[in-house]
């Protein structure tokens, strides 16, 4: 679970997840393009690639090869461990 918190503790990585939720299954090229055009994130491709590796280690991003290209997908599975530990419910009025 520590990996998940570390992975989420970065604005660029959170934006990457936002974009994958908006359209799942993107190449590195597409992710870099939408980050710079929609969010002004002008990091190098190598830097974005490293962010994706952190997200992948945490299980929040999975990759799949189709043809000769690699596509990235959001996987919210690891987030359920958080709400299992701390249920996402409001305080009951007393």
């Amino acid at each position: 679970m520590a990996d998940v918190f570390r992975a989420l503790d970065d604005e660029t990585r959170r934006l990457i997840l936002d974009e994958l939720v908006a359209r799942n299954g993107q190449t590195l090229f597409e992710i870099c393009g939408v980050l710079v055009s929609r969010h002004g994130v002008s990091s190098t491709r190598q830097a974005i690639s490293q962010h994706l590796a952190v997200l992948e280690e945490a299980g929040l991003v999975v990759t799949e090869r189709r043809g000769r290209s690699k596509f990235h997908y959001f996987d919210g599975g690891p987030l359920t461990a958080i709400t299992r530990r701390w249920p996402a419910t409001g305080r009951d009025p007393s």
């Binding site: 190449t27 090229f29 597409e30 393009g33 055009s37 043809g67 000769r68 690699k70």
Partner: protein
Amino acid sequence: MRIRLTSIFVDDQRAALDFYTDVLGFRLRHDVPLGDDSWLTVVSPEEPDGPELLLEPAGHPAVKPYRDALVEDGIPLVQFAVDDVEAEYARLTARGVTFTQPPTDVGPVIVAVLDDTCGNLVQILSEKPGQPGEG
């Protein structure tokens, strides 16, 4: 100095000629036998005297690792201007062309990326209406 010709590596020149003419819509310009291969170029029918695209054999050992790495990351090796990316996307997917990236709004232009079946990714782009041209 002018840009007269640009080149991409293709796995098979004849298959590439079919794809670039029959599917994409370019026109054969030069087909000159050179040993086992040809000096093979295409042009846009909209600019028959415009820049030529050389379809160059991909035999050199450096080509495969270079292209494999770029294609894995979805990076196109050549870019073509079209009037309407959405219309081309519809036309080409109907012809069985595979896109690694559907039409995507990236600000001043719409882009999409397709597989040329000859080892390359190709980006097509169109300017959005009301955007200043490139002059």
